[in-house]
Amino acid sequence: MSSPPDLAVDLGGIALRNPVLTASGTFGYGTELAPWIDLRRIGGIVSKSLTLRPRHGNLPRRIAETPAGMLNAIGLENVGVDAFLEEKLPALPDGVPVIASLFGTEIGEYRAVAERLSECDRVAGLEINASCPHVKAGGIEFGQDPGHLARLVREVRRATRLPLLVKLSPNVTDIARMAQVCEGEGADAIALINTLQALDVDVETRRPVLRNVLGGLSGPAIRPVALRMVFQAARAVSIPVCGIGGIETGEDAVKFLLCGATAVQVGTANYLDPAAALRVVEGIAEYCRRAGVASVRELVGGIELPAG
C-alpha cells in the first residue's frame, strides 16, 4: 500500500475527486471559507438552498446550542437564484463541483428554480431540499408525504437534465420508502439527513428559545440517527446515497460509507472549524492507508452484519 488511496467517487453522475461535500446552509456560497480551506481539495460544495426570489429569513433568535448539537431556524434566507448565478457562482474557483440546493414554497417554484439553474453549465447537479422543517408553507409536506414527494421529484426531474439529488427529511416513519419514491421518479441520488425537527425552551422567559418556535437539530447528537437512516435507505434503492449528519472526522465519514453512502456532506462541523471538510478528507485517506484500502469505493456498503 504505498500509492495513495483512490478517493474518487461518482455520485449519480457527478464525478467527485473525493467523497466529501459541504452541506447546504453550512458553507454559504463557498467563497466565505476561502481564507481557511482550499476548495479544490474537497469533493465539492452544496450551496445554501436557493429560492426564486431572495428571502430574508426569520427574526432572531435563529440558533441555539443543545447537548452535542444545535438548533436552527434560519428560515431559508438566501440571495435568490439570480444573484447566485450572477454573483456567487462566478466567484468560485474552477474545478470545484458545485451542487445547487433548491427550495420552493410550492412545486412551481421548485421547477422554476431548477430551470434557471439548469441553464448554467457551472452547476454540476441539483439537490432538492424537500425537507426544511421550519418553513411553514412548503418543505414539511413535500418531505413527509410520499405522494407529495413523488410529485415534487417528478416535476423537477422534467425541468432538468442535470444530475438530481433529493435530500430527505428524517422526520418520517419509513425513510426507505421515501428513498424508493425518489428513485422511482428518476432521482439520480438521495441525500440524507436534513435536521430533526426539535424545540428548546428558555425556562426564565418561558418562551421557545427560537423565535420560530420549532427548529432543526443538527450536529454530532444526530449522527447515530443519520447512520441508521442511511443504512436503511441504501439497502432500499440502487441509486447512490449521500450521507449527512454530525460528521466531524474521517472516521465518522467512513461509518457512513460502510453503511452504504457513496459520499458524505459535512454540515455543522464547518462552524466549529472552517477547515473541517478538509480534515474529513484527510481522515478518510488516513483510514484507507491504515486499513489497506486501495479505493474508497471498496468501503461503500461494506458493513459486516452478524450472522443470524
Partner: protein, 272 residues
C-alpha cells in the same frame, strides 16, 4: 505562517495565562503564532476545552479581541477579557496554562476610527467593555476621548485599570453605587454629549443598553456606532444565525457586516 494585518487565521492558540480578575471575569492571554493584528471591535471565535473534536460545548464562542501585543512579531500575544456566563465560558475558565484552544479570527469589521482631530465618546456596559479598550487607545491618538463604563458593581468593571492607564476622561456608573455614579451607564451619556459636541459616539454592551444609548444620542442629533453581541455559530457568515434585523427591512449579519453598525440602521424592536 504569518497573516497580513487583519487577515483571519485558524490557529491553535496556547494559553499563557488565564487569570481571574473579578468575581466573574477572567483575563486570557494566548500565544497565537502568525496573528497579524486586528481593528478595534473585531472578534475571534474561541473553542474551549481540550478534547477534539470538541463537544461540550459544541460551538465556539465569540469574544472581542481585547488587545494584542507584538502584532507582526513571530509570536504575538492576544488578550481576551471575558465573563463566565454559561457552559462555554465556564469551560474557557477551566483552561490552564499550556493548553491549546481553537481560535478563528480576527473576524468582522471593527469600529471606524474618528477622523483626525475628532473627539470620541465610548459607552461600554458589561462584557461590551472588552470591545472598547483598543478603540479608546487609537481614538485617543486622534482627539479627545471620553470613556463611560458601567457594570453592576465596581468589581465587575472589566479592564478598568487598563482604561485608567490611558490618557483620557473616564466616567463610571455602577448599579450598586460601589464606584462612580449609581445607576446605568447610559445616564452618563447626555452630559458627555453636551461636553463634547463634535465627538463620534461608540457603544458596546447589552442590547437594551445600546438601544437606550442610541436613542439618547439620536435625540441630540448624534449617530452611534454600536457593536452587537448576537449569538453566533460560525462567526464568518455561513450559518446566518447571527442576523440582526434592519430598519429598512431585511437583515445584516453581525459577524460579517458587523459586529459594528450604525445604531440608526438596526431595527431594535425586532432584535431577539
Amino acid at each position: 505562517m504569518r497573516a497580513e494585518p487583519g487577515e483571519p487565521l485558524r490557529a491553535r492558540a496556547r494559553v499563557l495565562e488565564n487569570r481571574r480578575e473579578g468575581p466573574s471575569h477572567l483575563r486570557l492571554r494566548l500565544a497565537v503564532p502568525g496573528f497579524g493584528g486586528f481593528s478595534p471591535g473585531q472578534f475571534a471565535m474561541l473553542s474551549p476545552g481540550p478534547l477534539t473534536p470538541s463537544r461540550d460545548p459544541l460551538l465556539p464562542r465569540p469574544m472581542a479581541i481585547y488587545r494584542c501585543e507584538g502584532e507582526g512579531a513571530p509570536d504575538p500575544v492576544v488578550e481576551i477579557l471575558y465573563k463566565v456566563h454559561g457552559r462555554g465560558t465556564a469551560a474557557l475558565a477551566a483552561a490552564r496554562e499550556g493548553e491549546v484552544l481553537g481560535l478563528v479570527g480576527p473576524l468582522g469589521r471593527g469600529f471606524p476610527l474618528p477622523a483626525e482631530g475628532e473627539g470620541a465618546i465610548l459607552v461600554g456596559g458589561g462584557t461590551g467593555i472588552a470591545s472598547l479598550l483598543e478603540l479608546a487607545r487609537r481614538a485617543a491618538a486622534r482627539g479627545p476621548v471620553e470613556v463611560l463604563l458601567g457594570a453592576r458593581a465596581e468589581s465587575e468593571l472589566m479592564g478598568l485599570g487598563d482604561f485608567e492607564a490611558l490618557d483620557l476622561a473616564l466616567h463610571v456608573a455602577t448599579e450598586d453605587g460601589s464606584r462612580g455614579r449609581r445607576g446605568r451607564v447610559t445616564a452618563l451619556l447626555p452630559d458627555a454629549l453636551a461636553r463634547a459636541p463634535g465627538a463620534a459616539v461608540y457603544a458596546c454592551g447589552p442590547t437594551p443598553m445600546m438601544r437606550v444609548a442610541a436613542e439618547r444620542a439620536a435625540a441630540a442629533g448624534r449617530p452611534v456606532r454600536a457593536s452587537l453581541e448576537n449569538p453566533m455559530a460560525c462567526g464568518f457568515g455561513v450559518c446566518l444565525g447571527c442576523a440582526a434585523p434592519l430598519r429598512g427591512g431585511g437583515f445584516a449579519l453581525v459577524c460579517r457586516d458587523g459586529p459594528v453598525f450604525d445604531a440608526a440602521a438596526v431595527d431594535w424592536d425586532r432584535m431577539a
